[in-house]
């Protein structure tokens, strides 16, 4: 178990927690870049996905986006953008672009399916009450779609945190940098310490997103068991790939 004590000793060393390549700085880069990517992804994908679900069109498009994203290696996209001409190339623009590209599919698919799976009876009732099309979307479909929309946000966040780690192989900062530099120096304690930090961040993000998912669901208490079971089933189908 020497490898474990080495990693713990690395983490316990105060020198590794200071400066431009210290753990807090790397964590800040990782979280900042990931949050920006998920935020931009939400701005792009959620309105589109919700609208496609509302008009009940573009199902094939949403599904194809999800499938294609699973087949395209995140690492390859990061490298392709790094070698691309300006404004890409080695730098934050390329990393952020790649992260957004991989945040979009789970957001789009889940928002689309979320609205699509809203009970048609609820939509009919809302129309019968005289709500306009956009009111139906905002007041009925959107609140009912929240569990799946948030599921998409959770999947996107997990995917982006993982991809941001791989970005360190190319040029990016973030906690992945600690792992990659550990490999470069053949410093096993460092690369393991980096791996533990990345693991802790990923689990923390997953946990926080799960908590958020439960918090923001407006109908959680009102919803019956049947509906929860249906959402769980749909969640399984629209789970994205991993990286």
């Amino acid at each position: 178990m020497g490898w474990l004590t080495g990693a713990v000793a690395w983490l316990a060393d105060g020198a590794h927690w200071q400066g431009a390549d210290g753990v807090p700085q790397r964590l800040l880069e990782h979280v900042g870049l990931s949050a920006a990517a998920v935020g931009i992804g939400c701005l792009v994908a959620l309105p589109l996905g919700l609208w496609l679900g509302h008009v009940r069109r573009g199902g094939a498009f949403a599904v194809a986006t999800g499938n294609l994203a699973r087949a395209v290696p995140t690492f390859a996209v990061l490298v392709l953008l790094a070698l691309a001409p300006s404004p890409f190339g080695l730098g934050t623009t390329s990393t952020l672009t790649a992260l957004v590209l991989f945040a979009v599919p789970p957001l789009l698919t889940n928002a689309y399916v979320g609205v699509l799976e809203v009970d048609p009876a609820a939509v009919d009732a809302a129309r019968g009450m005289g709500l306009t099309s956009s009111q139906v979307l905002r007041r009925v479909e959107l609140p009912l779609a929240v569990p799946l929309v948030m599921n998409g946000v959770r999947l996107a966040a997990v995917q982006v945190v993982a991809t941001a780690t791989i970005a360190a192989l190319v040029a990016g900062g973030g906690l992945g940098r600690i792992i990659v530099e550990g490999f470069g120096r053949q410093d096993q304690p460092q690369l393991l310490a980096g791996a533990f930090l990345v693991l802790a961040l990923a689990l923390a993000v997953e946990g926080a997103m799960e908590l958020l998912q439960r918090r923001v669901d407006p109908l959680r208490r009102a919803r019956g068991r049947r509906r929860a079971a249906a959402a769980a089933g749909a969640q399984l189908q629209v789970q994205g790939g991993s990286s």
């Binding site: 699973r70 087949a71 690492f75 390859a76 791989i166």
Partner: protein, 232 residues
Amino acid sequence: MRVIPSAAVPRAASCLLENAWVCPEYLSSRRSELLAAVVAHLQITVVSVAIGALVALPLALLARRVRGLRPVVLGASTALYTVPSLALFSLLLPFTGLSRTTVVVGLVLYSLTVLVRTVLTGLEGVPEEVRDAARGMGFAPSALLWRVELPLALPVVVSGLRVATVSTVALTTVGTIVGNGGLGDLVYDGLRTDFRAEVLTASVLCVALALALDAVLLVAGRLLVPWRRGVA
């Protein structure tokens, strides 16, 4: 900049000098290197998904048999998907070193997320009447599983295998961190030597490989369940 071996560079070979993204000269001059990377990639993927399926089946059966273990097995296999690949491969390093085994073990663990769930879903989708009828016909529990339940679960299992295979092809590239990433090794080499044709070619081959394996499984699934032909 790449060095061209031949002194008299023909006009067609200039794409190497220009560092073009698309370069037929690269394809012909590095054919054996590309082929070796594709074969390595294919081996890593197929072995990982096959072992993943062999591990997922008993886990799914266990989760079905022992009710209390169900959330544990599903929870653990889902949590694995949260772990970033670069961290997972690094954490396996003390045990399996800079080897292909490290990549395969990591990919097997990732495939379990999808496979355990789909095998379980497939088995639970078998109608109870079918089970009753088979028992009434005198099927022993093992015969019931192998000759009735698994064949009926096959369409769902194959869909899970397709998802797992496509993800695994993409994830294999990250294995380059331990020097065993198949086509990912070429992508990484292309990054370090600023060689665009190598990166684009390996990336396109990787996506093509994923789509090809997906198609193979789709066709195999159709052939294995002839009774569903024309239904779904």
